[in-house]
């Protein structure tokens, strides 16, 4: 049987783009297929916060290694990526959150991630727009912000320069046994197929055992008109962890991002159960009230646009990265929930290690798709 290429990457979101680049640079003949223009899925809807998160050991491993990979490109990223090393300032609204901040600092430092506790006065000095009465904060200076559609296109351009081929938009119908069936009737054959189709991944597989593994978790965002200097760091309340890892049907948390244009991106909400991407006034209102509570001056800024998107969420908060137990030609790279911009880089490194059987600095096991399959591991 003749192969059309070494690897087909399904999905040109940020995860697919990062995988395509990594594999193409490794010398693989790569074909990238997406049903629409690149970076139009969850990637277009999110915030581009590159952030170290410590929800679990594996999450910490993946975010730390990913952040380091992003930082390798500082200086070589084009303007369109809008990389801004603004750092994260985690805000503690009370003593309990400050205690969380202290723990977080220790956890990050143990991994060599710089993190400084800030007193309430130091927080006020670092971010004068914040309200009074805060307990303190934790500054993580190595975190950053990117404009993720720009970053995705940059990754794809480099992949193409390294020899990858980006097909004109066409939907994939089925993936399995080294084959990719396209809506236009063509079948592509490859040694490996990387499925990076975000929330749509399970539907493309022959097995139904992963159908419930990735659930859409809706998120709302709002963007202001230009108001440079409103904030200097990505600002996130420590209570965000509760929102992110909790399983409440609906929650909002203060999450503010300075954009290079001088605009402020205001987030965020988390909701299970919603399937329609329309902006929900009730949720948007709650999210904005939280924002004004922590930064009163925001009330006067104009909101020019709001939108909502879906994070592809798994039940343990970790992406599915690895081969299907019964079909090792199919390698999944999906389910990155609210961290896919950050972890796209580390995911691509995992995928490369898997496909080449090479050693990986990040343990592979916690990400193996088998853990999420209905009917028991590997069934």
């Amino acid at each position: 049987m003749t192969l059309d290429c070494d690897v087909v990457v399904v999905g040109a979101g940020i995860v697919g783009a990062a995988c395509a680049l990594r594999l193409a640079e490794r010398g693989e003949a790569v074909v990238v297929v997406d049903r629409a223009s690149p970076a139009g899925g969850a990637t277009a809807a999110g915030m581009g916060h590159i952030v170290v998160m410590d929800g679990s050991e594996a999450q910490l491993d993946l975010t730390v290694s990913s952040r380091a990979l992003w930082r390798e490109h500082v200086g070589s990223m084009p303007d369109a990526v809008e990389y801004d090393p603004c750092g994260t300032l985690w805000i503690a609204t009370d003593e309990e959150e400050l205690a969380t901040a202290e723990v977080k600092r220790e956890v990050l430092r143990a991994r060599g991630v710089e993190a400084d506790l800030l007193t309430a006065a130091a927080v006020a000095e670092a971010e004068p727009g914040l309200c009074g009465g805060l307990a303190g904060g934790l500054r993580v200076p190595g975190d950053a912000v990117v404009y993720q559609p720009g970053a995705t296109r940059w990754l794809l351009q480099r992949a193409v320069q390294a020899g990858a081929q980006l097909r004109p938009p066409v939907a994939v119908e089925r993936v399995g046994d080294g084959r990719v069936a396209l809506r236009d009737g063509t079948t592509l054959r490859a040694r490996h197929v990387v499925v990076a189709a975000g929330g749509q991944t399970a539907a493309l597989l022959e097995t139904r055992a992963l159908d419930d593994a990735i659930r859409p978790r809706k998120g709302h965002l709002a963007i202001t008109s230009r108001a440079p200097g409103t904030c200097r760091h990505q600002l996130v309340e420590l209570g965000y962890g509760r929102s992110a890892h909790g399983h409440a049907a609906e929650s909002v948390a203060f999450n503010l991002q300075p954009r290079r244009t001088g605009q402020v991106l205001v987030g965020s909400s988390r909701q299970y159960g919603a399937t329609d991407a329309s902006v929900e006034p009730g949720v948007l209102g709650r999210m904005l009230r939280r924002a004004v509570a922590l930064m009163p001056a925001l009330a006067h800024l104009l909101i020019v646009r709001t939108w909502a998107g879906f994070r592809p969420a798994t039940s343990d908060g970790l992406p599915l990265v690895g081969p299907l137990p019964h079909d090792p030609t199919v390698v999944l790279a999906a389910g990155h929930e609210g961290l896919g911009i950050t972890t796209s880089m580390g995911t691509a490194a995992l995928v490369e290690a898997i496909i080449h059987g090479a050693p990986s600095s990040v343990a592979l096991a916690p990400f193996a798709p088998a853990r999420a399959m209905a009917g028991g591991v590997g069934a």
């Binding site: 277009a44 009730g282 904005l288 004004v292 009330a299 800024l301 104009l302 909101i303 709001t306």
Partner: protein, 428 residues
């Protein structure tokens, strides 16, 4: 957040909205009419600040009095920014959020002018035709200024003569449509006897204005303020005219964002049936929003929509004949002032197409859809949210409209933070 309840809610206070409100109130309904402008009357009748006694000023005054007598609540400077459901709208007024709950909604949000980019069109001194007209009504002095009016449609002549009444020297009216089509349009006017067409035939016949058909501007020069305009025609001959102001308008496009937010079906305008019902139950639409046809079409459609929204279907149907005539006129407008292909080729690589974000044509010309263009180039991401560049790109590149997102106009965050669900147990 303040909540208000009404039977019929009319969005837009131009001819269509005014007629709808009056008709619905006449049928005994409680009616609220709102408009984002501080002054009532819409694009055409909005009063001139220095001349309240103009015919338009008197028209609006008379209507305002009749609405007041019928108990219609009129809210000016109030903008619909979001919807919870098709008949539950949020509006923004003086830093307050209003939640408006109606049984029926009549959309009469009008049109905006199509501005096509060409080299120099962003210079100070170059305006939209309607934009300049609005500025003059708001007090801008054009006395003694040399003005070129360019683009297409009856609006050019209407605005040119209005400017001349204010003392402007009209150097040229450049109408892109050919002399033959213009003549065909002029001949057709006798079939639509009305105030509007009388005025137009007078202007067309009288030759009182320096009208040149089959010509259009291809570059505006200045340093940076406008000094000269280069004009071209179908044979490709060019000439350069000195002027102080250039007013351009390449026709009107229905302002459908609110209708699309409510999920109404839209093609060239909002799709309606003979009773002005949209594809969404309890939502009606009237006027330029449903297709460009001038204020007489807006008036009859508004009246039908108001009656139908009030449940007076028989009276609404009785107006079918006037509606048919108005639609026939609208079709002639569309046919005789269709834009010529040459206008698609005026842009050059470095012509700015999105003024808010300074995006040049070279960045957008190879993109095939609006959303992707926006994500890639920031075109349409600025404060106007694509109100100017999206219709232009729809014409130049065939882009469909991007999905409208709230707020429909920029709103202070503190106001939007007042949004709260009022419908229990639903997602929206």
């Amino acid at each position: 957040m303040k909540r208000e309840r009404t039977e019929v809610l009319v969005v837009g206070g131009g001819p269509a909205g005014l007629a709808a409100a009056e008709a619905a109130a006449g049928a005994g309904r409680s009616v609220m009419l709102l408009d984002d402008n501080p002054r009532l009357g819409g694009q055409l009748w909005r009063a001139d600040v220095r001349d309240a006694q103009s015919p338009h000023g008197r028209e609006v005054d008379g209507r305002r009095r009749r609405l007041a007598a019928a108990g219609v609540v009129v809210r000016m400077a109030t903008t619909v920014i979001d919807a919870e459901a098709p008949t539950r709208l949020w509006a923004h007024c003086a830093d307050e959020l209003l939640h408006l709950h109606a049984d029926r909604v009549v959309l009469a949000s009008g049109a905006r002018e199509l501005l096509l980019p060409f080299p120099g069109w962003t210079r100070p001194g170059v305006f939209g035709v309607g934009g300049l007209q609005a500025l003059v009504k708001a007090g801008l002095d054009v006395d003694g200024r040399r003005v070129v009016v360019a683009g297409t449609g009856p609006l050019l002549l209407a605005v040119a003569s209005a400017l001349r009444r204010k003392g402007a020297k009209i150097v040229h009216v450049l109408e892109q449509t050919s002399r033959a089509r213009l003549a065909r349009f002029g001949l057709g006017l006798w079939r639509t006897p009305s105030k509007l067409t009388q005025g137009l035939s007078l202007m067309l016949r009288g030759g009182a204005l320096p009208l040149r058909a089959g010509a259009w501007p291809c570059e505006a020069h200045g340093d940076p303020t406008l000094r000269r305009v280069t004009v071209t025609d179908a044979r490709g001959s060019t000439s350069t005219i000195e002027c102080d102001l250039l007013a351009c308008g390449f026709g009107l496009v229905p302002q459908t964002r609110l209708a699309r937010l409510l999920s109404c079906e839209v093609d060239d305008g909002v799709v309606v049936d003979a009773l002005q019902r949209t594809s969404v139950p309890n939502v009606f639409a009237a006027g330029e929003l449903c297709g460009i046809g001038g204020h007489e079409k807006a008036l009859v459609e508004g009246q039908i929509a108001g009656l139908a929204a009030a449940g007076q279907l028989r009276s609404a149907r009785a107006l079918a004949g006037s509606r048919r005539r108005a639609l026939a006129f609208a079709r002639r407008l569309a046919r005789d002032f269709a834009l010529r292909d040459a206008l698609r080729r005026l842009v050059t690589d470095d012509t700015i197409v999105c003024r808010c974000e300074d995006v040049p044509w070279s960045h957008v010309r190879d993109h095939t859809d609006a959303r992707h263009t926006k994500l890639t180039t920031r075109c349409g991401m600025g404060p106007c949210q694509g109100r100017v560049c999206q219709p232009a790109l729809a014409y130049l590149l065939g882009h469909g409209p991007d999905r409208p997102r709230p707020p429909l106009r920029p709103v202070p965050l503190g106001v939007l933070a007042e949004l709260r669900t009022t419908i229990e147990g639903t997602a929206r």
